[in-house]
């Protein structure tokens, strides 16, 4: 379907794509920008793509990705993780700080940023640790990371909660100096000591230590109040309970600067899957009940939850082929995210494709400060002439069974393995250059 003309490199004409699922149109990509949009555009030597029936969306932006490098290159590298991201339709990912060494200094975040530039599959925006070594005792050098070449704006101890109220308050206050945001993994540690699965009917039946909803909700409530008190920006990672949605809705009604994300797996899966004790379903926060799934979907639909973030957490096989309680927490998600959102939100009528673009590109780009200012890349823009050519093409009519063996991620711990999901990512463009064509890596 691709007619490549070598005469004009870096120039692509996408024929008949439907921006945000609307009326078909042509898009001409040139010099990293969407040069023209409209019907019947002339190729002028550009390579042509027949996009009949495909939906065009702005390139997806992930606020929560574990790329594992440096330290756990057996699970993922920046190269394999960003390749997986491109195949999922992403043009920018935010890499979490819990690497080894921890991304808590300018040196480490710059290293990760450079690895992302070298891989070239998507923009890698490192997230800096809030506390030195993720130890929860003193602040990391947040300003140095902000001023580094990586231009860090999002800070998180993800995997661990900044549970100390004073430290959380100081972090929220401190990052105001450089328009930063604290992304909190909300988990009261004393209430979740040894916790394995959502506390409820399933945990009682399986004899696994419970992870109660209140342990998430209590921290979110406290953090919303702290953010209001110091007038700073809080982002709540991977919201997983109905109660959390209520608290965030309330905080937003006050006009406080609170944003939130939900993972694809929390939009589709429930704690019943733990019944066979297969740790592929072990994740933190845990899979919750069907009532929580319903509330999360409603919260995402009405905008209480700003965005979808994958929490892509690759683990090698040996860390999952174990007893449940010693297995690692986490699931891969980059390569299935849009398809899961398609199933959970679009097929259910809760979001249209414009809504999907808003929750998976526009809003996460705003939260991640991908605003093109002072050297930051520009993502999450509407598809229009003059905008950066960060976009993806998606076939909504395709269906297929998820096979982790086919994934570009180095790890195979997908909870969607064997599930039939709608859709297929056909192509991804980063500043006008294809990273994915025909559903395969283009470079």
């Amino acid at each position: 379907m691709i007619g490549r003309n070598e005469a004009v490199p870096g120039s692509w004409l996408i024929r008949g794509a439907r921006p945000l699922g609307g009326e078909p149109t042509d898009l001409l990509l040139r010099d990293g920008l969407i040069a023209e949009m409209g019907e019947g555009l002339r190729a002028d030597g550009a390579s042509e793509i027949d996009a009949d029936g495909l939906i065009a969306l702005p390139g997806l932006v992930d606020l929560h990705t574990h790329l594992r490098e440096p330290g756990r290159e057996d699970a993922e590298t920046v190269h394999t993780g960003t390749a997986a991201a491109a195949l999922g339709g992403f043009t920018a990912v935010h890499s979490m700080a819990n690497t080894d060494p921890v991304a808590d200094t300018a040196g480490v975040v710059e290293q990760i940023w450079r690895l992302g530039v070298r891989a070239g599959y998507c923009d890698v925006r490192p997230i800096g640790a809030v506390t030195a070594g993720l130890q929860g005792s003193r602040l990391a050098e947040l300003g140095a990371m902000a001023d580094s070449a990586a231009r860090v704006r999002v800070f998180s101890d993800d995997g661990r909660c900044v549970s100390d109220a004073v430290l959380m308050r100081r972090a929220l206050e401190y990052v105001k100096a450089f328009d930063g945001v604290i992304a909190q993994h909300a988990q009261e540690p004393r209430l979740t000591d040894g916790a394995q699965v959502n506390e409820g009917e399933v945990s009682g039946r399986l004899g696994l230590a419970g992870w109660p909803a209140v342990a998430e909700e209590a921290v979110i409530a406290r953090d919303c109040l702290l953010a209001a008190h110091v007038d700073s920006a809080l982002h709540v990672c991977h919201v997983s309970t109905a109660g959390s949605v209520e608290i965030i809705r309330w905080a937003k009604s006050k006009g406080w600067r609170v944003t939130a994300e939900v993972t694809p797996h929390h939009l589709l899966l429930t704690d019943e899957l733990a019944s066979g004790y297969d740790p592929v379903y072990k994740v933190n926060p845990p899979l919750r009940t069907a009532a929580d799934v319903e509330a999360l979907r409603a919260g995402l639909a009405d905008g209480t939850i700003d965005c979808v973030a994958t929490d892509h957490a690759p683990h090698p096989l040996e860390d999952k082929e174990t007893e449940w309680q010693v297995a690692a927490f986490g699931m891969t998600g980059l390569e299935t995210a849009l398809r899961v959102v398609h199933a959970a939100m679009v097929e259910t009528g809760l979001l249209d494709w414009a809504g999907v673009a808003d929750r998976m590109s526009v809003r996460p780009a705003v939260i991640g400060r991908l605003d093109g200012i002072d050297g930051a890349p520009l993502h999450g823009r509407a598809l229009a002439a003059g905008a950066p050519a960060n976009l993806m093409l998606y076939d909504p009519e395709a269906r297929g069974t998820v096979d982790p063996a086919q994934h570009a991620s180095r790890s195979r711990n997908s909870p969607f393995a064997g599930m039939e999901l709608p859709g297929r990512v056909q192509a991804t463009f980063l500043r006008g250059e294809p990273t994915v064509l025909d559903g395969k890596l283009a470079r």
């Binding site: 506390e199 409820g200 004899g207 419970g210 007893e323 309680q325």
Partner: protein
């Protein structure tokens, strides 16, 4: 019959009764001068114990030996497990050795489920974490039926640390299947938060339950729980939830007192209650061998594979 015995909830009423009836027949062997049957000759039973539990291991070992099976005891201590070998690799090793059945005791809930995915032989759960202990529930039901003549309609009160008890989970499931009515008595801290969904009644008032009970089953309470604020002191626990002679006097004439062992005299049960004629504690141990013989016989003896 099912291929593995992992949860008491996997047993149909017919399966459970078949095990109890088979145990009655096999129990006769214990009274003979030669207490051995040739049934499982040439079959290999592995006792894979990741937790110290001498009484359960010996019970399974005696059961397998009385059926003439070859028994391999594989203890986590002093084996490759201590060097960090994974459960999967251990499972593959046992598989290569030709284990027909693996009896597993493990500190992690669900370990027998995982094992069953990696071996071809039958898996028998001898206690997994805070999940289940199905042969204990079977021997408890066997003991009740022997003493009281029936299970249907029997009122069984289970008292103690239900939250962390694999015995309680298996008993609730099995006794429900067999038509008994179970009431759990515990401080609210030691009950699962969603216990209202279990097929049983729940009470915080031990004294009120005693006059109605046909069976009182006491669970072990570990003193460490006190440190995690499950209850204030051992003394207060004993006063509210311990079975002493005053409480025993509130029971109907025919009622029996059970304990899965090992018991802590003076905490959940007074010494003179444990040693009273109502107590079935020693019988439970003897019945355990017969039940485990029946389980191994029915899982292994009826099919000719391997």
């Amino acid at each position: 019959m099912i291929r593995h015995l992992i949860s008491a909830g996997d047993l149909s009423r017919d399966d459970a009764l078949l095990i109890l009836d088979t145990a009655e027949e096999l129990d006769q062997v214990s009274d003979r001068s030669i207490r051995k049957l040739p049934t499982l000759r040439g079959r290999t039973v592995v006792n894979l114990f990741y937790e110290d539990s001498t009484r359960t291991r010996i019970s399974f070992e005696a059961a397998a030996k009385r059926l003439s099976a070859d028994v391999i005891n594989f203890s986590a201590k002093g084996s490759s497990v201590a060097k960090g070998e994974s459960l999967k690799d251990t499972a593959l090793t046992l598989e290569a050795m030709g284990a027909d059945a693996v009896v597993i005791r493990h500190g992690a809930s669900g370990a027998p489920h995982r094992l069953a995915g990696w071996v071809r032989g039958s898996v028998v759960n001898a206690g997994d974490g805070t999940h289940e202990h199905p042969t204990q529930a079977l021997l408890d039901a066997f003991t009740m039926r022997r003493r009281l003549g029936r299970l249907e309609g029997l009122r069984v009160t289970i008292v103690g640390d239900v939250l962390h008890s694999r015995v309680a989970r298996s008993n609730v499931l099995l006794l429900r299947t067999l038509g008994a009515e179970v009431t759990l008595v515990a401080p609210p801290t030691l009950l699962p938060v969603a216990v209202s969904g279990w097929p049983c009644e729940v009470s915080y008032d031990f004294d009120a339950e005693l006059p109605k009970a046909d069976v009182v089953m006491m669970l072990r309470v570990q003193a460490e729980r006190m440190n995690a604020a499950y209850f204030p002191t051992v003394r207060e626990y004993s006063r509210r939830y311990g079975l002493d002679t005053r409480r025993m006097a509130l029971l109907p004439e025919h009622a029996i007192v059970m304990h899965p062992g090992p018991m802590i005299r003076g905490v959940e049960i007074a010494a003179d209650v444990a040693d009273s004629p109502r107590s079935t504690i020693v019988e439970q141990v003897a019945n355990g061998v017969s039940i485990r013989m029946a389980v191994l016989y029915l899982l292994l003896g009826s099919e000719g594979t391997r």
